[in-house]
């Protein structure tokens, strides 16, 4: 009993912090209340819930050899120290998602997002990562697609693979869109990001021919190069000759990114992708650590209200009411289906002991949720007037400080045009109005936090561009790596019909699949960039729905496995989050498809525009009949995509229920685990 006392105290601390957050209204709340609440809840959940799942639900066996032992090859299968593996796994799951979603969710105030991240990760997100890691670890480290195929059958396996490919496409499009929104009309940011390309090429040459394998050295050189690029970027942007060269409209940037994606993903990996990944990985980990320290040192008060009037819908950043849309807007951070692909990727092949799985699977996801909490805090310490001026589309702000100040003040968040103009000057941008996508908002907040610790207000512009660079860098790495992964998914899928397409002896299938993959995400990127509502408004919900649906699929697989293990009396552990995710995504997907509100439903929006087109009218923001037709076409594509996602998840639900019932009637366990090997004596 004694050993539980510190944990009980910690639980009380967490409960007190949450109670303060939930009850205080109208006066400034310090960000540390949120941080403390999250950390205490996470630690208690890890100590009790993760261990409960490990001991009773999964029955992890320390004496049972993991694939890293019985298939050891020193390459893919290597027994790895659990702390080292934690770092590997965390670096693989943490991306732009947990940083952007919470920033967008702040439009409803800090409270809904905080509660959803804390509850979501404990009950759904970390459980999903942990379960998939466990399932894959017991099956030689197989991938999610293979796991669904062996446990549920070939048809659901193929459906899951096709679903994963579509989700990949949407993720790449939405990530690229965030970069476009962050770099458009911003020569300083554009220069620093563009400079990473020659910098990475030089690093690639260095690791190829000069000092192969010296990752530390080359990363340090690259880091110095990045800092120089940020420092000199200011004068480049101010130069009358170079400034305009690095100034691009969103549409130009869209085409640059599509071209970049197509070229980068067929270059040899050592030349651009690998060195860029060194920079982005280490910068990401460093920036996350710095942000955590910065928030604790600064202990900033939250300026965003706990709840805004937009909880009932009608918000400018994204449409729809709190339920179900908050739960798909914060996807990564609370629960992310994409992690199922990582947890069934390299990590299960490296795990040294079954009992390391809770720390890696559950623990790393708690860490990611902590990153999401920091992003939410960052967005909430900004003046709400600035937040809404930055995140509302041009259709609302009008695009310049005066009109934006008027529009945002009318929403009930008073801000002056001078404040908006001064904030832009502070961070070295022409304008901060309608810089949607979350990344610029986070960068302004990070500049605020970092300059408080280092450099004071004079360093704000440097830190802002540092933050933009750090986000753009790992998004571009993800675009490159994701296009390569998408290519193989597509080759596998098309290979089901045309086996020759899977061949890698000829270069054509690879090139065709790469082209198709780039064209797919490029289409949605272009649609987002030209979308008068800013694109994020349209694409982020589709991304959220798809990501949460993948999570539901992973949790359904976990449920099936528990039933087949004859552990169904513990199946509530995965059934509860599955049901919640199905409720959220099916409601959100149906609303996106069928809602009669044109701000929410794609088909209603298309109908409004096609009715007007039939009358010969041109509706704002379209400026011509051709633009009207483009809007209608895009709406229908988005609607079709939503319908497809719904079909994928419903069909997998059918297969899940069927397999669970079959195993209920079967008196014996029917899981297809790899045979148990005893752990070799050390």
């Amino acid at each position: 009993m004694l050993k539980h006392i510190p944990w009980i105290l910690l639980a009380i601390v967490g409960a007190v912090c949450l109670a303060v957050l939930a009850t205080v209204r109208g006066e400034a709340v310090n960000a540390l209340w949120i941080i403390t609440a999250a950390v205490s809840v996470f630690l208690v959940a890890y100590r009790y819930y993760a261990l409960y799942i490990a001991r009773h639900v999964m029955r992890l066996d320390p004496a049972r050899a993991t694939p890293a032992h019985y298939r050891a090859d020193g390459l893919d299968y290597v027994p790895t120290d659990r702390r080292v593996l934690f770092g590997h796994h965390f670096a693989a799951i943490a991306g732009a998602g947990p940083l952007v979603g919470p920033v967008l969710a702040a439009q409803m105030g800090y409270l809904p997002g905080t509660l959803w991240i804390i509850a979501g990760v404990v009950v759904a997100g970390a459980v999903q990562d942990f379960m998939v890691l466990f399932i894959s670890m017991r099956r030689d480290g197989k991938s999610l697609g293979e796991l669904v195929r062996t446990e549920m059958g070939p048809v659901p396996g193929t459906i899951a693979l096709a679903g994963a490919f579509m989700i990949m496409v949407i993720i790449l499009a939405v990530l690229a869109l965030i970069v476009v929104r962050a770099l458009a009309e911003s020569p300083w940011g554009m220069f620093t990001v563009a400079a990473t390309v020659p910098l990475a090429l030089l690093m690639g040459v260095y690791t190829r021919w000069i000092r192969p394998g010296r990752i530390g050295e080359v990363s340090l050189l690259g880091f110095v190069g990045l800092i120089l690029a940020i420092v000199y970027g200011q004068s480049i942007a101010a130069s009358p000759y170079w400034g305009p060269i690095f100034t691009f409209t969103p549409v130009q940037l869209c085409w640059i990114l599509i071209g970049y994606g197509a070229v980068a993903s067929v270059l040899p990996v050592w030349l651009l992708l690998a060195p860029r990944d060194y920079l982005s990985t280490f910068l990401k980990i460093g920036a996350i650590a710095a942000l955590a320290i910065g928030i604790v040192v600064m202990a900033p008060p939250l300026q965003m209200p706990a709840l805004t009037q937009f909880v009932n819908g009608g918000g400018p950043v994204w449409s729809g009411s709190l339920f179900p849309f908050l739960f798909i807007t914060i996807a990564c951070g609370a629960v992310s289906g994409f992690h199922a692909l990582i947890a069934s990727g390299t990590t299960p092949k490296l795990i040294a002991s079954e009992t390391d799985a809770p720390f890696i699977g559950y623990g790393a996801m708690l860490m990611e949720a902590f990153v999401a909490i920091m992003a939410l805090v960052a967005a909430s310490i900004l003046d709400p007037g600035i937040y809404f001026a930055m995140n509302s589309p041009v259709a609302i702000t009008g695009g310049d400080p005066a009109s934006a100040a008027a529009a945002v003040t009318a929403m009930g968040f008073p801000v002056s045009a001078e404040t908006l103009a001064q904030t832009a000057r502070d961070v070295g941008e022409h304008s901060i109005v309608s810089r949607t996508g979350g990344a610029p908002t986070l960068a302004v907040a990070m500049a605020e936090i970092f300059s408080h610790a280092v450099g004071g207000p004079a360093m704000k512009a440097f830190w802002y561009h540092f933050a933009i660079l750090f986000e753009a860098l790992f998004i571009l790495t993800a675009v490159d790596a994701g296009t390569r992964a998408g290519r193989f998914m597509l080759q596998d899928l098309i290979g089901l019909a045309v086996p020759a397409f899977r061949e890698n002896s000829s270069m054509w299938p690879g090139l065709v699949a790469t082209g198709l993959c780039v064209a797919s995400w490029g289409f949605f990127l272009h649609q987002g960039v030209t979308d008068p509502l800013g694109g994020v408004n349209t694409l982020w919900p589709v991304f959220g729905i798809s990501n949460q649906m993948l999570a539901a699929i992973a949790l359904m697989l976990s449920t099936v496995v528990l039933f087949r293990m004859k552990q169904q009396r513990y199946a509530w552990v995965t059934v509860v989050p599955t049901v919640w995710l199905l409720i959220c995504t099916l409601t959100a997907g149906t609303l996106k498809l069928l809602s009669s509100d044109p701000a929410v439903g794609f088909l209603a929006h298309a109908r409004r525009f096609s009715d007007a087109a039939a009358r010969g009218e041109v509706l704002a923001p379209a400026k011509s009949m051709a633009e009207m037709q483009a809007i209608i076409f895009n709406d229908r594509i988005d609607a079709a995509l939503c319908a497809l996602f719904l079909a994928v998840v419903l069909s997998l639900l059918y297969f899940t229920v069927r397999t669970c019932l079959q195993s209920l009637w079967d008196p014996n366990p029917s899981v297809r685990e790899a045979p148990a090997h005893a752990l070799p004596a050390a």
């Binding site: 290597v78 080292v84 770092g87 990501n547």
Partner: protein, 60 residues
């Protein structure tokens, strides 16, 4: 606590490079008849394995 050596190992594994020494030890113990890859060859092999796209993408 975690030592500097482990942190270096963690940083390398974050970008897909497992320790070469562990690979050498494995080869010596289990495949003494086969010549192991050299350090540089090992580095390139792991680089291709991580970034070739076969191991899935990174997260959002």
């Amino acid at each position: 606590m975690i030592g500097l050596k482990r942190i270096g190992e963690m940083a390398r594994l974050m970008v897909g490079q497992p320790p070469y020494e562990a690979y050498l030890a494995h080869m010596r113990q289990h495949h003494p008849d086969r010549a192991p890859m050299g350090r540089v060859e090992f580095f390139r092999d792991r680089e291709e394995a991580r970034y070739g796209g076969r191991n899935g993408g990174k997260c959002c």
